[in-house]
């Protein structure tokens, strides 16, 4: 079988080498404690009296997570191996470096591995006298039915959900409030994706799953976890309509409501295609008489070189709009 074409050195070194490159490229935004090479800290984020927002998860989703570490967004990120939760140690390292005496909010996608590792870190931090809370993101509406929202995966909606919580923390709100806003943001964020080709792990360089040419998988996860249905590849508008139907039906917004939109590349799907999708997303939102308050189009939460895209809609209210509009300055995401 042919190996995926990657520009890497040893497949086991990709995460550490990537981090070296990130640190070299963004010294004004990011730093790492000497003893904690897998904890990435915002240079201008953490400060005394501020709730520390600590995010993290497996690598291979860049710019998620490390690209969202910065003033106004996350204070630190713990970096795992490719598609693998970080162990408790870097999570603790990140939290210790970021906390400013007002508690730590952990936010990450709802995956069994991440929950176990972050929970272990939280227990150990508690022993150090550091208060922690956890809000799992569960925006992937394809990954479990509406009634089982808390079983869903966290995917690209992370960007908006982290952003809202990061703004709340940056505004100096107390831990209870930051946690409440994070939960509120997660509850109003809806994502669904479609995959057109597989990614592959750098260690094996073999496709993570088998998706024959001419087919697509609706609802595929960002680690190549199977979605809800596999079928013949359809035109962009038809795919967008299926996703938007699902999101709009669950979101149940009233005419005049405002939304934030993210059309996200899962990796190799280029901007040209994202904007084609976006043209339809925008038309559907207009038809539903919703007001688009903010739009992001690009690779925000990827699965290495997987082809495909996801659409995220956050159903804004005054509070979330304020949080989404709050400025942030990260190495890979800036606003305001």
């Amino acid at each position: 079988m042919t190996l995926t074409q990657k520009l890497i050195n040893d497949g086991n070194d990709t995460v550490d080498e990537m981090l070296a490159g990130v640190m070299a490229a963004h010294p004004d935004h990011l730093w790492r404690p000497d003893h904690a090479p897998r904890a990435v800290i915002a240079r201008h984020g953490p400060r005394e009296g501020k709730v520390a927002l600590v995010i993290g998860g497996g690598s291979g989703h860049e710019p998620t997570f490390l690209g969202f570490v910065g003033k106004g967004l996350a204070d630190a990120a713990a970096i795992g191996n490719v598609f693998a939760s970080p162990p408790p140690q870097p999570v603790m390292d990140a939290a210790m470096a970021a906390h400013g005496g007002a508690g730590v909010l952990f936010m990450y996608g709802n995956y069994a591995g991440d929950v176990m590792n972050f929970d272990m870190a939280a227990e150990m931090l508690e022993m150090e006298g550091i208060e922690t809370r956890t809000v799992l993101t569960t925006d992937d509406i394809a990954s479990a039915p509406r009634e089982a929202r808390d079983k869903r995966r966290g995917v690209a909606g992370n960007v908006f959900i982290f952003k809202a919580a990061g703004a709340a923390a940056d505004l100096g709100l107390p831990l209870d409030e930051v946690e409440r806003i994070a939960r509120h943001a997660n509850a109003r964020t809806y994502t669904m994706g479609v995959a057109l080709s597989a990614c592959s792990l750098p260690q094996t360089r073999r496709p993570n799953f088998d998706l024959p040419a001419g087919e697509m998988e609706i609802g595929m996860g960002i680690h190549g976890e199977p979605g809800i249905r596999r079928e013949a590849l359809r035109p962009a508008d038809a795919v967008t309509d299926e996703i938007m139907d699902a999101i709009l039906s669950e979101m149940a917004a009233a005419p005049g409501d405002r939304v934030a939109v993210l059309v996200n590349s899962l990796g190799s799907t280029p901007l040209m295609e994202l904007y084609i999708l976006h043209a339809r997303v925008n038309a559907r939102l207009k038809a539903a008489e919703l007001e688009v308050h903010r739009t992001l189009v690009g690779p925000y939460c990827t699965s290495m070189e997987m082809a495909g895209a996801s659409i995220t809609i956050m159903h804004l209210d005054d509070e979330l709009q304020r949080m989404i509009d709050h400025p942030c300055d990260c190495a890979m995401f800036r606003q305001g």
Binding site: N12, G58, G80, N81, V82, F83, A84, S85, P86, P87, P88, Q89, Y111, A112, G113, M116, N117, M120, S143, A144, K151, R152, R153, S200, L201, Q203, T204, R206, P207, N208, F209, G221, H223, G224, E225, P226
Partner: protein, 208 residues
């Protein structure tokens, strides 16, 4: 009387590392079908780290020291789901073995039971949810029944095979529903392999 010594336990971890390395791609392929294709990498990396840390311990380390070092090294090398689960398993086995320099081989089934308890405690899975517990739980039951290592290993293997018929309700595969049926759980398959290596390694009276 044949005994499990710290040296012998270190050798067991070396055998585990070798086995996981050999099975890396098989386990990744299994995980690719219903998960994210990295289980073989996690197990190979974790056991290599565990084995290395165990081997690096100074002269005079106890059985518990070996298990503790392996736990910490596995966890830090891997994270993922396997990391906390196996780290907890090893810590529990270490507690069961205690700070001693030897344990009768005949008592080693209690280590398997301890590991299973650790995995259940950490993962909060129930048997039948299509996880590694479906290999570990029946193995632990057999151990508590007094079965020997060969029988325990057979039961673990059967448990792993049986996951093919289960619908996942936990872990990454849980979102698959019906589509998870027909495929064995990678964590259960690697669990059966681990138990087989331990059974083999702790069955030979000469400790070779």
């Amino acid at each position: 009387m044949a005994e499990l010594t710290p040296q012998r336990l270190v050798a067991s971890f070396a055998a585990l590392a070798e086995k996981m390395d050999a099975e890396r791609d098989t386990l990744c392929r299994l995980d690719g079908v219903i998960g994210d294709a990295d289980h073989g990498i996690a197990m190979a990396q974790g056991m290599a780290a565990a084995s290395g840390a165990a081997a690096d311990l100074p002269e005079g380390a106890s059985l518990q020291d070996v298990f503790n070092a392996a736990a910490k090294a596995f966890l830090n090398a891997v994270g993922a789901s396997s990391g906390p689960l196996y780290a907890t398993a090893f810590l529990r086995a270490g507690k069961a073995a205690g700070p001693h320099a030897a344990m009768p081989l005949a008592e080693t089934p209690s280590l398997i039971a301890a590991m299973a308890e650790g995995i259940a405690a950490r993962g909060k899975a129930e048997p039948g949810q299509k996880t590694m517990l479906d290999a570990w739980a029946p193995a632990a039951e057999a151990a508590r029944r007094g079965d020997d290592l060969v029988a325990i290993s057979a039961v673990a293997h059967a448990g792993a095979e049986a996951t093919a018929e289960m619908i996942a309700t936990l872990g990454r595969a849980a979102r698959l529903g019906e589509r998870s049926r027909g495929h064995r759980d990678p964590g259960a398959v690697s669990a059966a392999m681990i138990i087989a290596v331990m059974a083999e390694s702790w069955s030979r009276p000469d400790g070779a």
